[in-house]
Structure formats: C-alpha cells, structure tokens
Symmetry: C2
Subunit: 207 residues, 2 copies
C-alpha cells in the first residue's frame, strides 16, 4: 500500500509538479491536525508519501515554508468553505450560524473523531512561536469575524463604552466555535460544541 | 546569568531534589505555552537550566512524563487559581464570571503578550496525539464546567430535548473563554476576549 502510494507520488513528481505540491500540502494539513506542527516530522511525511528529499525541498525548502503553505492554501480555504460561503448564502444570520454549527457537529459525530478547527489548532500552537505564522492566522480570523458581523443587525449595546454590537457578537460566535471545538477535541465528542451553540442560539433567539 | 542559574540548579539538585523537579516543571510549563509541546526541545530545556541529563532523567525519564507532570501540577492548578477559586468565592455567578474575565483581560494588557490558556494550548495540540494527555485534560475541563454549572440557576431551556440550562451555559462560558483567548493569542491583544465577554455578559444580563 505504501509502495503503491509511493509510485503514485513518483509519477506525480515527474509529470505534475503542481500535483505533488498539492499532495504534500494535503498530507501536512492532516498531520498538523492530528499531531500538531511541532510533532510532525518532515522525514516521516516524506517517507509516508514515498518522495525524495530533493523533490520535497524543491517545493518546501524549510518546514516553515510548508507551514505557511498549509495556512494559506488549506486553513484559509477550510474557513472559506465551512463558514464564509454558507454565512453569505444564508437567508439570515441566525439560520446561517445554526446551519454551520449543526453541520460541523454532524460531521464530528459521523467521523467518530475530533481533529479540531484547523485554524484554532495552529493559532494556539504557533502564534507565539513565529510572527509570520501569527499574522497569516490573525488575518483569517479578522476576515471570518468581519463576514459574520456584516450579516448581523447592530444591536443596542448594554455598555456604550466603545462597543460595537455586531463586532462583539461576531467575536463571541467565533470564540464559541473555537473554544467549543477545542473542548470537543479534548473529549473526542461533539458534546461541548453542541451544548455551547445550543445555549448561544437560545440567548440570541430570546434577545 | 546562565551560569548563575546553572549553579542554582546544581545546588538544588544536591540539596533539594523536589525543588529541582518543581523548577523543571515550571520551565517546561513556560516553554510549552510559548512554543508548544512538540517544538520544545528537552535538550534546550536542560541546557537553559544548566542541569545534567542524569538529573533530568531521574525526574522525567521521557518527554511524555514531563508533559503529564506539567498538566497535573501546573495546568490543573492554573485553572484552580484563575477560575475555580474565584467562582466559588463570588457572591453570585455573573459577578464571579465578570471578575475572572476582566482579571485575565487586565493581565494580558499589562503583560503586553498573550500566551493563551495553558489548558487550551495543550488540549488543542495534544488531544489527538496521545490519549493519556487527552484524558487528563478532559477531566480538567469537566471539573471547570461543573464548578461553573453548580453556581448557575437552572434556566428554562428553549429546546427541551435533553438540554440542561446550567450545563449548557457552563459549556458556553468555557468555550467563550477558550476561543476568545485563542483569538487573542493570534492577535497578541486582549481585544477578541474582551469583545466576546462583553457580548456574552450583555446577553446574560438581558436574559
């Protein structure tokens, strides 16, 4: 099986360097979600894909270059697909949010394992380690929050001191998701995310 | 400076093996928060403390043993001190929660850097990598949520299907904190945590 994958990769290497780059980024994305960035060995990644050090280094001369590619090509795209597109298409903000949370919860339940939010995983592990990583991820959070905020009505804030209801609520939504799925990763069940969203939805419906 | 620290450690090693163990756990706790578990090198940790491999291995024969000690001795204690004690002492749940969030936000602002939640950092990085780590951290989350839930009034749930208002709200509070501080780590400011709590407090006060 490993040999077969290896020969696929060797063909890709000869005929389709872009395909090989994509395959490396895909493998790294999965490995970072399961084991973290720091515990993922580039040597193991190359061995499991059956590719040479030279072919790997051609695309990613450093582990940092691979990390940045995973964040730009896969983590940003995951937030786009899971969050931004459905929120933009939803008839209203609350049904859009409900759709995203319930769809993620369903996916966790049917996967039977919880790898966590690809952005949250790397943001928490890498933000103090490397400022280039951190800035890429800060920008993804900013976009995610802005897209939610622009769908929300501006609520009258309880505390008028510089607060912006839509921006505050967008931050709370992303925090609830990020923290709920972190706890879900620790329990390996969707339960913490499900409870957290159930309560937030109930508070928002009552408001 | 390094030499001076080294000699302190050597004295500790001769006279106070328990002190050396504590010093190693403290250093590892800081290193894991800044760099993550996977990117922390035991060799660097020993070198920066000026201690021998033998003395280190006497206390922690493996990196995993050190990780478990950090979770049991320091991460659990951090949740106890920052969250559980103040929530238990507070006159009521909402003022207790407000006190904890505002105190963490103040600390982040005066530190001028955000290392994140010690529990969230390791839960997100390690929960799929190692089931022993995961179970320790799952138990800390369970205790944290239970202590908050027992201070909360049971609210009439919007959705009666198996929901428990206090448990749901406790999950939402811990998710808001965990996710808010993850985003704060990515931005290196308290802003996402402050906005998230501001909105949750406002929703809870209105309810």
């Amino acid at each position: 099986m490993n040999g077969e994958e290896g020969s696929v990769q060797r063909r890709a290497e000869r005929n389709d360097p872009h395909g090989l780059r994509t395959a490396i980024v895909d493998s790294a994305f999965e490995a970072f979600a399961a084991d973290g960035f720091g515990s993922t060995s580039i040597g193991d990644l190359k061995a499991s894909m059956g590719i040479s050090g030279g072919a790997f280094a051609h695309h990613f001369p450093t582990k940092k270059a691979l990390g940045l590619a995973v964040i730009r090509d896969r983590v940003a795209a995951a937030i786009e697909t899971t969050w931004i597109d459905p929120i933009r298409r939803a008839p209203d903000a609350l049904s859009g949010l409900d759709g995203v949370f319930l769809s993620v919860i369903d996916t966790l339940d049917s996967n039977g394992k919880v790898s966590g939010c690809p952005l949250g995983n790397l943001a928490v592990e890498l933000s103090r380690q490397d400022d280039d990583f951190r800035r890429e991820m800060e920008a993804i959070y900013a976009r995610w929050r802005a897209v939610i905020a622009e769908r929300l009505p501006h609520r009258a804030p309880e505390d008028p001191a510089g607060s912006d209801g839509a921006a505050d609520l967008a931050a709370l939504v992303v925090a609830t998701f990020t923290g709920g799925i972190a706890m879900a990763k620790a329990s390996q069940t969707s339960e913490p995310l499900r409870r957290s969203w159930q309560m937030l939805r109930s508070l928002l419906s009552a408001g």
